[in-house]
């Protein structure tokens, strides 16, 4: 009899859920909603509130509303950091595209059998820890590194090239780090491309270059934009790569935020910095959706 009532009870609960679609929705989204609210929305709100407060003499938070943290961005020092970050992130995105798009095109136009193998080969290096891979670049780029010692021993240069600790080194590290994030969306877009459209363009007197410019590229642009966002945003906020390859200088936004929180202990200013970065990223993403909607 007890078994009977429990099955009835279970049945009752199920019936209630079935009759109430609102409850169903709530039950389905609850786990992710909980996660988002507790670990994302609430911390973000804390950061937002902090960004309008003041730092006390010992690094504590002083509850006094002000906009000074945002005003400090007008300081040429921080403007320079922003510009430099944009330059590095922009160059990273550009190089990722210049190397990544042809590669994605090549992979996407192989036979079906080969494509997955090639994509796997692209991913394999990224199974290694990110830090290890970035450290490897130090060994390649430093004065006594692979490139310089090779060029020196060949007699092409007399002094080691200043590679390590430069913006170039950071850009190389970032391009290497985010390369698959450009290739994969481009690949997805090119793979979906209907190649009879390319034939149609060539049939209508467009040579290879013009059919690329007028048909292939515009139709795969959403993939390029998606890839650019995926590369640009993490590059802009990058912290590990500039920290390791930038030669211990505060060069990018990520490094400023890190030093504000961990060294200077100016939580309010660090928070404001984080928010400005987020605003920029949001803008970039909105731009993507607008362009994406136009091409689709």
């Amino acid at each position: 009899m007890t078994e009977d009532t429990t099955t009835k009870g279970k049945q009752g609960v199920l019936d209630t859920i079935r009759r109430r679609p609102g409850l169903q929705t709530l039950l389905l989204i609850f786990p992710s909603l909980f996660w988002l609210v507790v670990f994302f929305v609430l911390p973000l709100l804390i950061v937002l509130v902090y960004s309008f407060l003041k730092r006390g003499p010992y690094g504590q938070i002083v509850w006094e509303f002000n906009l000074n943290n945002y005003a400090r961005f007008l300081d040429p020092l921080y403007l320079k950091v922003f510009l430099r970050s944009f330059k590095i992130a922009g160059l990273t995105t550009l190089f990722c595209f210049l190397f990544g798009y042809p590669m994605a095109y090549w992979i996407a136009t192989r036979s079906r059998r080969w494509r997955n193998t090639l994509l796997l080969l692209l991913m394999i290096p990224f199974w290694t820890n990110f830090l290890v891979r970035t450290y490897a670049w130090i060994l390649i780029l430093r004065d006594t590194g692979l490139i310089n010692s090779a060029l020196l021993s060949l007699g092409i240069i007399n002094e080691p090239l200043p590679l390590f600790g430069t913006d170039l080194a950071i850009t190389i590290g970032l391009v290497y780090g985010w390369f698959p994030d450009m290739v994969l969306p481009c690949y997805a877009a090119i793979e979906r491309l209907d190649f009879s459209l390319v034939e149609a363009a060539q049939d209508l007197y467009a040579n290879e270059f013009r059919s690329f410019l007028r048909v292939i590229f515009p139709l795969t642009l959403p993939g390029v934009i998606a890839g650019s966002i995926l590369v640009f945003i993490p590059s802009l906020g990058a912290y590990v790569t500039p920290d390791l390859l930038g030669g211990a200088k505060t060069v990018m936004i990520g490094n400023v935020i890190q030093s504000q929180f961990l060294s200077v202990r100016d939580y309010p200013f660090g928070s404001a910095f984080s928010f400005v970065l987020m605003a920029i990223m949001l803008l970039a993403t909105l731009l993507y959706f607008r362009v994406g909607a136009r091409t689709a």
Binding site: L197, A200, D203, L204
Partner: protein, 375 residues
């Protein structure tokens, strides 16, 4: 010759490499095809899928190059000329309209590539859209148009460039039956108006018969027969063509005797069937007599005329299909036929004799209605 050759294929063969890239496992898609497509004609390449008709078309367009043989267009050898340097335009099976461009931009594409002046582009785009009965559709995007409309845009986009040859790759395949029939007539009318050579690829024999001036029937990379729709239908030269185009009764037998053009074939070992043939045939040769179902009549009595075949048969099945009635008749244990009669006269009329099921009757046809096939 009395006509100009628009497209000349001289011994064209196309081999595709096997999946491993080795020539050994390759496929011969087109096998030593020689064709002369006349200027201004509506020419169809007809055959089942995989017969090489699309590959042939793609070689004329320049998307594929022949492995051996030559293609020339209006006397100019094409060689390895890329598609964008050929004066041909193609209407693709799936239309291949550029989805990111408006209809007007789609139609203007070819002219823009050829650097035609803006004013002329605008005028010709408007004209072309007018011609395919889509005036004012210029600002729309392809996905806002129905299949039939997209089809017409594809046609306008190709024709607006005034190509020497228009290539059409099963352009009506994706349309429903009714629209397809309308478009067939429309295409044929349009072709007569513009006077451009059309090379049309289709697997639909009725479509080819409806529109073409001439048809080439292809099978396994080879052209089996080339001729007018009447020629192809009335005088098929082999079993495949007779079978692929329309419906045919095949009566296998051996040649008994020949008097001039009249041949007597012994079908099923004992039934003499009269048929006409210009070839001289030795007695005992294995042949097939092909007779279209609509050329056979069912009669209650034997036909006495000397040039008529008249075989006693048993009606096994009567299938009424609206305009026609199909009779499945058995002549002997091994030989059966399909007879088709149009339902034009009332059944009470003695001329409109309609055999009943299981009734004995005579299948009658003129000796020149049959066709003697050697394979």
């Amino acid at each position: 010759m009395g006509y100009d050759v628009a497209v000349y294929l001289n011994g064209v063969t196309k081999k595709f490499l096997g999946p491993s890239g080795s020539p050994g496992g390759g496929v011969v898609a087109v096998d030593d095809v020689t064709l002369k497509i006349r200027d201004g004609e509506f020419y169809s390449l007809l055959g089942p899928s995989g017969c090489g008709k699309t590959t042939t078309l793609r070689m004329i367009a320049g998307f594929e190059y022949p492995t051996t043989g030559e293609i020339s267009i209006h006397g100019t050898l094409m060689g390895l000329t890329p598609p964008y340097q050929r004066n041909t335009n193609m209407v693709f099976q799936n239309y291949a309209l550029f989805p990111h461009m408006t209809i007007a931009r789609n139609v203007a594409f070819g002219m823009e590539m050829k650097k035609v002046s803006k004013a002329e582009v605008r005028r010709r785009v408007a004209e072309a859209l007018e011609m395919v009965r889509l005036p004012g559709y210029g600002p729309r995007k392809p996905n806002q148009l129905s299949g039939g409309q997209q089809q017409r845009v594809a046609l306008a986009r190709a024709l607006v460039n005034r190509p020497e040859v228009l290539l059409l790759d099963e352009p009506l395949g994706a349309l429903d039956l009714k629209l397809r029939k309308e478009m067939q007539i429309e295409l044929k009318t349009l072709q007569r108006e513009v006077g451009i050579t059309f090379v049309y690829v289709t697997h639909d024999q009725e479509e080819a018969l409806t529109m073409s001036d001439r048809i080439a029937v292809m099978h396994r990379g080879k052209v089996l027969q080339e001729g007018s729709p009447t020629g192809i239908y009335e005088r098929p030269n082999c079993r495949f063509v007779a079978d692929f185009i329309g419906e045919t009764n095949f009566l296998d037998g051996v040649v008994q005797e020949q008097e001039g053009e009249r041949v007597t074939v012994l079908v099923g070992g004992r039934l003499p069937v009269l048929v006409e043939s210009e070839q001289s045939l030795e007695p005992g040769r294995q042949v097939t007599v092909a007779v279209r179902p609509e050329k056979v009549w069912l009669r209650p009595q034997e036909a006495k005329a000397a040039d008529h075949n008249s075989l006693r048969c048993q009606v096994e099945q009567v299938v009424y299909v609206g305009n026609d009635t199909r009779f499945h008749v058995r002549i002997s244990d091994e030989v059966s036929m399909v007879v088709r009669q149009q339902n034009v006269i009332s059944t009470s009329d003695p001329l409109g004799y309609q055999a009943d099921q299981d009734a004995p009757a005579y299948a009658v046809w003129r000796s020149d209605a049959g066709r003697l096939l050697l394979d």
